[in-house]
């Protein structure tokens, strides 16, 4: 059996808890080795010392009174409950301790037994936890905890504020899904979280007032040491700003794309490797490919024609290597799918990476092939003029050189070149001087005394006077050199074009002192220019006529031909059936269609003859009544049923070319028939008196639209309301030419849907009535 006393002694010495026995006076009776070590003493050093030796000086007095109070009412308890207690080591260091007190009597003496443990580590940990808790609570980031049943057990202040609640109690015990836009989504998240231990991603949070905001959520399953799940923690970052920015960026991107596609020009981005990174629709269209076919291709290999390829490539690489400065403008040819070359005017920009090194070029281009071609043509059409001007210049130069020897000869040169000059001296009193040649330009005597500065203005064309005055004034006022043209009429009624070059001479302060003007006669150039323009206009007119002729011929020739082909087919059929009378009928019909074609051709021929002056007229006395009867006979074949009424006044005999007048009448009458209903009569009124033969043809037909009346006599012209009625558009042209030939006149009045009246007058040498 082990001795009880020695057992207790062993416990006392081996205990890992400090044990100190103190008497009523506060003197240490016993201290075990652990206690002594705790305070940095040996046990023997402590025995007999006042217990206050182990207590920080600041707490001595309060300790003494506490000790006395304890002695008065001794029972086991923890000392200094609710407060931190500190011990004082021998080396003066203080450390956190926990003391529990117990009371007993040993050998009749009241003693207090203190059990002391070092709680430095524990205190530290507690403090750390408290700091941690505070940090979580005060964190700017919303943080929430939930238990394993997903119910929220903690939220920090930031969470409450962010979600718009007033206190924690509103949130504790609820499910996370209630604070999100989608409960289903949160359910899924929670499932994932329990399965995988963590989840992070975006969600849309719902505030107390129902508003939503985008948030980035990071959740974790917190586990204990043994890896068993304890609870769930989640942190939240409000990303609504970022989302907003993302949306704006996307929008910007989209609109940039739209601009790119809408741009009327070609846009292409070429990277360092000469590959096309991007090309817009316009660009793809210019090249004749789909955008996808172009992107990724080597620009120079595929789309730049051979001759310039290497040169352009060097320029491009030079820019990218920063050896050459950016080429802002450039023109070069590209080649499209069909192998066609197109001239493009480019505007280039270099694209840099974040370090400012060029990585690609962006170019916007315009197809100027067409522009160039037009410019060239324009150039050519001006070439003749230029040549003329150059020749003249050459001539002048030659003469000038030859005659430059003396003043007289120089003056002759000026005269030859038709150059004069004048000057105004603006200093003091403005004075004007006109050179001799200037007078000659205006063909005005030089020796007349002129005081009026504006003397020559009277010869300037009225429409140009204001321009001459204001331009001259402006040049003087602004001190600028200027050139302008104007027209004059000389006292001898010659019309001339003058070109003046004004030059202002200024002093050191920029004030205009003198104005010179060199004036040149360029009437001849102007005339040449005019000739050229006339020639061009004629060519255009011929072109227009050609197209009118084609459309007229297309219709007018095809119609009789169709009839002929049909009759020919019918003749074949009737021959098989042996029906002779029908065959004869169609032969007749073919003949009449051929007549129709012949008359169209005759129209052309007579116009041709008229225009080449091959038709001459021969007059002879004609009995009008007989003559008109003949004409009516011929015309009656064309009638649809109209009656032609004829009235005559005055002499019966007229001096006319019967062939021409018959043609005129047939034309006018057949028009009247063609363009009026079969129920309407056509009136023909002839009148021979007062030295003229007047013929009127009146119908009640469709009339001529007012806006088209002006063109009625032009070749191939057909009024818009006559489109469906056959005709060559030559009849009235021929009529007009015939009448012109006879020095007569033709006029008409017409109203749409009312009718038309033609009036022809043919001059007559007055013959007395028989």
């Amino acid at each position: 059996m082990i001795n009880e006393k020695s057992t207790f002694e062993a416990i006392f010495s081996a205990a890992t808890l400090g044990i100190i026995v103190v008497d009523e006076a506060g003197k240490i009776l016993q201290a075990n080795p652990y206690a002594a070590q705790l305070f940095g003493y040996s046990p023997s050093e402590l025995i007999g010392q006042a217990v206050e030796i182990l207590i920080p000086v600041a707490a001595h007095s309060i300790h003494v009174s506490h000790r006395k109070k304890y002695m008065a009412d001794p029972r086991p308890r923890l000392m200094g409950k609710g407060r931190e207690l500190f011990g004082l080591r021998k080396d003066g260091a203080e450390f956190a301790i926990e003391i529990s007190l117990s009371h007993t009597e040993i050998e009749g003496e009241k003693v207090t037994i203190s059990f002391i443990s070092d709680v430095t580590e524990r205190t530290k940990k507690a403090k750390y936890l408290l700091a941690l808790e505070t940090a979580v609570e005060k964190a700017a980031t919303p943080i929430a905890f939930a238990e394993l049943d997903n119910r929220i057990s903690y939220v920090n202040q930031a969470f409450i504020e962010k979600w718009g609640y007033d206190s924690k109690t509103e949130l504790i015990g609820r499910y996370p899904g209630e604070f999100s836009a989608s409960m289903e989504k949160v359910d899924e998240i929670m499932k994932t979280l329990h399965r995988e231990g963590s989840w992070e991603g975006e969600d849309v949070a719902r505030k107390k007032d129902g508003t939503l905001f985008a948030t980035f959520v990071n959740t974790k399953l917190i586990r204990d040491r043994n890896d068993n799940p304890l609870r769930i923690m989640a942190t939240f970052v409000d990303i609504s700003n970022i989302k907003e920015k993302e949306r704006a960026l996307q929008k910007q991107k989209e609109s940039a794309q739209t601009y790119l596609e809408m741009a009327g020009s070609i846009i292409v981005v070429i990277n360092k490797n000469e590959e096309v990174n991007l090309i817009n629709r316009e660009g793809a269209a210019a090249l004749g490919y789909e955008e996808e076919e172009i992107v990724g291709k080597n620009w120079f290999e595929h789309f730049v024609p051979e001759p310039n390829r290497d040169a352009l490539r060097q320029v491009f690489q030079g820019i990218l290597k920063e050896e050459l400065s950016q080429l802002v403008h450039y023109e070069n040819e590209i080649v499209d799918r069909e192998g066609q070359y197109k001239l493009i005017r480019w505007y280039n920009r270099v694209l840099n990476d974040e370090n400012g090194h060029p990585v690609a070029t962006i170019s916007s281009g315009m197809d100027i092939t067409q522009t160039r071609r037009i410019e060239k043509e324009l150039e050519q059409s001006r070439a003749q003029l230029k040549r003329y001007a150059t020749e003249l210049e050459e001539e002048v130069k030659k003469q000038t050189l030859e005659l430059a020897l003396n003043q007289t000869k120089l003056k002759q040169a000026n005269k030859l070149a038709k150059i004069g000059y004048w000057e105004i001296d603006l200093e003091d009193e403005p004075r004007i001087f006109w050179s001799e040649e200037y007078y000659q330009l205006y063909e005005v005597e030089q020796n007349i005394k002129i005081e009026d500065r504006r003397y020559f203005l009277q010869f300037v064309h009225p429409d140009d006077r204001a321009k001459v005055v204001s331009t001259t004034k402006k040049a003087i006022k602004e001190g600028k050199d200027i050139s302008f043209d104007y027209r004059i009429t000389t006292p001898t009624q010659k019309k001339k074009y003058l070109r003046t070059e004004l030059h202002c001479q200024k002093d050191d302060e920029g004030v205009v002192k003198k104005v010179f003007s060199v004036v040149q006669d360029f009437t001849e150039q102007k005339y040449a220019e005019h000739q050229l323009e006339q020639a061009l206009k004629k060519e255009r007119d011929v072109g227009l006529l050609k197209s009118r002729f084609v459309s007229m011929a297309s219709h007018e020739f095809r119609t009789p031909l169709t009839s002929i082909l049909a009759s020919a087919g019918l003749i074949d059929m009737y021959r098989e059936r042996g029906m002779l009378d029908k065959q004869i009928k169609h032969v007749q019909r073919i003949k009449s269609s051929v007549d129709n074609l012949t008359s169209i051709l005759n129209d052309f021929l007579s116009l041709e003859k008229l225009e080449s002056g091959k038709i001459q007229f021969k007059t002879m006395p004609i009995d009008l009544l007989n003559f008109i009867a003949e004409v009516r006979e011929e015309v009656s074949l064309m009638r649809k049923g109209q009656i032609i009424e004829h009235q005559h006044e005055g002499d019966n005999i007229a001096e006319i070319d019967p062939h021409l007048v018959k043609n005129i009448l047939i034309n006018l009458l057949s028009n009247a028939i063609k363009y009026s209903a079969e129920t309407e009569a056509v009136q023909l009124i002839t009148e021979k008196k007062n030295g003229s033969l007047k013929i009127q043809v009146i119908d009640r037909g469709i009339g001529i639209p007012e806006e088209e009346q002006r063109q009625l006599f032009s070749r191939f012209f057909r009024a818009s309301n006559a489109n469906t009625i056959q005709g060559t558009g030559l009849g009235l042209t021929i009529v007009k030419r015939y009448i012109d030939l006879m020095n007569g006149s033709i006029s008409f009045t017409s109203q749409e849907n009312e009718g038309t009246t033609f009036v022809v007058e043919i001059p007559q040498a007055d013959t007395p009535a028989p």
Binding site: S554, R558, T559, T562, S563, G569, M573, R589, T724
Partner: protein, 125 residues
């Protein structure tokens, strides 16, 4: 007998075509302008329509449009006979839904070929 309507303002062509088609054993009706033509189409609903383009009152395009708009007669084969060789006119004709066109002048065999093509397809109910 199959009925054919000819709408054509030129009397020579109109009469010749009428005569020819009658010899080919068709029942032929004629109209001298679009307006009369349209009235005859509604009255007789022919098996085929031959129609000129440029005509007074109502042109060929207008006639075709009205035909195609009326469900009862919309299916009638419609052939333009036109003196216009302008490609644009012909394209317009096909665009408004003509079944075929003949450009003047044409041989009678061409006409028969075009007509037969539609007659074979169409069976008298």
């Amino acid at each position: 007998m199959k009925r054919i309507l000819i709408i054509e303002d030129n009397s020579d062509i109109r009469e010749n075509l009428e005569e020819y088609l009658m010899l080919c054993q068709f029942d032929v009706t004629i109209a001298e302008n679009g307006e009369i033509g349209w009235a005859k189409i509604q009255e007789e609903s022919p098996h085929l329509i031959l129609c000129d383009i440029a005509m007074p009152k109502m042109n060929g395009f207008q006639v075709l449009k009205q035909v195609r708009a009326d469900a009862k007669i919309a299916k009638i084969p419609f052939v333009f006979i036109t003196s216009s060789a302008q490609k644009k006119d012909l394209e317009k004709g096909m665009a408004v839904g003509a079944d075929a066109y003949l450009t003047k002048p044409f041989q009678m065999q061409e006409l028969t070929t075009v007509i037969n093509q539609f007659m074979e397809e169409k069976v008298d109910p």
